[in-house]
Symmetry: C2
Subunit: 457 residues, 2 copies
Amino acid sequence: MENVQEYFRKNRDEHLRQLKEFLSIPSISSLSVHKEDVQKCAEWLADQCRSIGLENVRVFPTKGHPVVYADWLHAEGAPTVLIYGHYDVQPVDPLDLWETPPFEPVIRDEKIYARGSSDDKGQVFMHIKTLEALLETEGKLPVNVKLIIEGEEEIGSPHLPEFVEEHQQLLAADCLVISDTDMIAEGRPSICYGLRGLAGLQIDLTGPKKDLHSGQYGGGVQNPAHALSELIASFHDEKGRVAVEGFYDRVAEISEAERKALAALDLDEEEIRKELGVPELYGEEGYTYVERTSVRPTLEVNGMFSGFQDEGIKTVLPAKATAKITCRLVPDQDPEEILQLIEKHIEKHLPKGVTYQVTRFDKGEPFVTPLDHPAIQAAARAYEKVYKVPVTFTRSGGSIPIVATFHKLLNLPVVLMGFGLPSENVHSPNEHFHLENFDKGLLTLSIYWHELNNSLR
Amino acid sequence: MENVQEYFRKNRDEHLRQLKEFLSIPSISSLSVHKEDVQKCAEWLADQCRSIGLENVRVFPTKGHPVVYADWLHAEGAPTVLIYGHYDVQPVDPLDLWETPPFEPVIRDEKIYARGSSDDKGQVFMHIKTLEALLETEGKLPVNVKLIIEGEEEIGSPHLPEFVEEHQQLLAADCLVISDTDMIAEGRPSICYGLRGLAGLQIDLTGPKKDLHSGQYGGGVQNPAHALSELIASFHDEKGRVAVEGFYDRVAEISEAERKALAALDLDEEEIRKELGVPELYGEEGYTYVERTSVRPTLEVNGMFSGFQDEGIKTVLPAKATAKITCRLVPDQDPEEILQLIEKHIEKHLPKGVTYQVTRFDKGEPFVTPLDHPAIQAAARAYEKVYKVPVTFTRSGGSIPIVATFHKLLNLPVVLMGFGLPSENVHSPNEHFHLENFDKGLLTLSIYWHELNNSLR
């Protein structure tokens, strides 16, 4: 490992320069105005893969944004690893809250600031640089590697399942490794063994055919903003539980053992409360903060709007009101069924005087991996050699909808080894990535491929 | 009257050209970016007053937008009329719904389209042209006239009360005439004898100090969009009544006679429903549509927003949620007290896990005038001579907050004779004004000043 370590040291400035180049491409997958940037980002990534000696590099077009594929398959007799990541990023609004522009990466206090630095470009880039270092210093990789980096993760990977289904042979492997989750805290490396699923939808309520004068018409017709508020309020009960009928029917109750393991994470709720800046933590009665954010399902409004939004007032009775909602799901909830239950709920609780329309967004199944799998245990050893502390095993509240698809279609164990931190403003202004974990992560991954070869061979 | 009628006919094109000039000034009082336009509009109006022979023309600065004053006081022994109007207009969003730009007036199908064409520049302009016609054809006016045209009506006239209080001598008159209300329908001239009052406020709820990843944090903290929805839902009960404690305490119940008069308006609710495009009319149980929109108080959300509002989804748990609300009030509700009751309600019903801030907007007292006042009866005669049908007496759901102030400070009877139509998209895209009522209105006002001289002398 010393040669590899030396390689990373010697090339650090150049690697960071390349990372900045990667981060400066505004590959926002949800906004059609950035479609060309997403394509450009895929090409950049493919060039990187070629330049470090990966083979069969391809930018596969899809009906949406492209998938980048590359491999190196000369570790005869060694296991094959599929590495998944994404090069697309979240939108950047509110732009005025960014201290420096989201696509002009800068390093401050040993953190690199840019949209995508932590989620997930920074972590994708670490995988590439790890492979580069091993190829440069050892002349080969300890395992066979296939990279699949997609451009639609932030919009729910609408076209990846089809791609995976069509390329099962190409993607066949012994284990899937993903770096798109968080360490539990600074200095506490974590392996995530479960992810929540996702079910997203938009509700549009329509009242009058145009905005009305709230004096002349107010009191005469339903106000869609009132109706939407009632509807949203009806989604939860006074105990913070989701009040959609049947929502919890398939939720696997967590075992006492798992509750103990989660409690052992020893998160300081008062510390969390202070860091988030809320007057109090709040959520489903009977569960701790860590349980509510990892093993319990949720229904959250991500955005809502109706009527006048500029400064001052405008005395209108709005014609429309919209809410954007996503649910986080846990085993064994089914995203399709959950969307159906919500639609039933809307139909049943729709206030008088408005009509509604539901648009479905992305779906993803929840996922949990056995903790004692050798691929996971090898990852734990790699972490411990670099970070010098025991690894924490967690379940994340986030969703990587494609994980369940990979598992189902390719029948793979999944190892989620993330190097981000919860404080890194993922999906928010001033996203950043700690260079300490960039440096340690490169080493951890280098060691991991050797450990994995020993475990799975 | 024949000379006057002939004058209007001969000068119609020139008058419409001038009106277009007036309407092309974007005097949006609520948006600070238009401050200079509002000033320019006041100057334009003052020039008009000078050019038709009014005297003592002044553009009075205020702490906000200016007040335009002008008079003609040579009708010895005749009563003095104070004419009030406003030259400011509402914002124009959503701009993409306008068929032609809001500040590029055009005439289509004998209607003039522009922001302010009906509310209230078009009607202010009619008053000026009426005075011009009488001065040009009869060499004098039948009554003494004082004009006060303000630039802050659409933001609740924040500085006019102070102005009126400081200029009681200047504004002293026998009667106040305002043309800023609607006719009840095409061909049905109406005199409005009551206006609802106004109380506006903005509620800002704050949860976490920044937008959070809804996967990582969802379920752990209160979502301000949920909290706002609950709060808004709590403002009404299941019978469509405002559920703010004490809200109805001072509401004067309408008499059977008044209910009968309102019923006699003979509005076709099914026709209204169709025109508004709603699946059903909705509002406070136990009252008809016309009662709910004129003699009953309301609480309406004019705008609300939280979190992500662009296309697609963004999986955030929003940091903030905002609602803009106005109440329409009826005698004897007090705007100040209503705002206090709402603030108490918010404090009491605030969901857990968020903090709130209330910003007060404008206030205006409700107002009702005796129907049998000679100034009102004179107006009815003037209308009937031109429109050849009996006048309808109405109470409007809208608010002209300054009316109560004038009444209180100057002790004046108020005559609300409006020439707008409810279908003219006031406060909405494609505002317009029917030229038929422009033409008939000019004649009606010309006759009214003579009738008023006979009644009040």
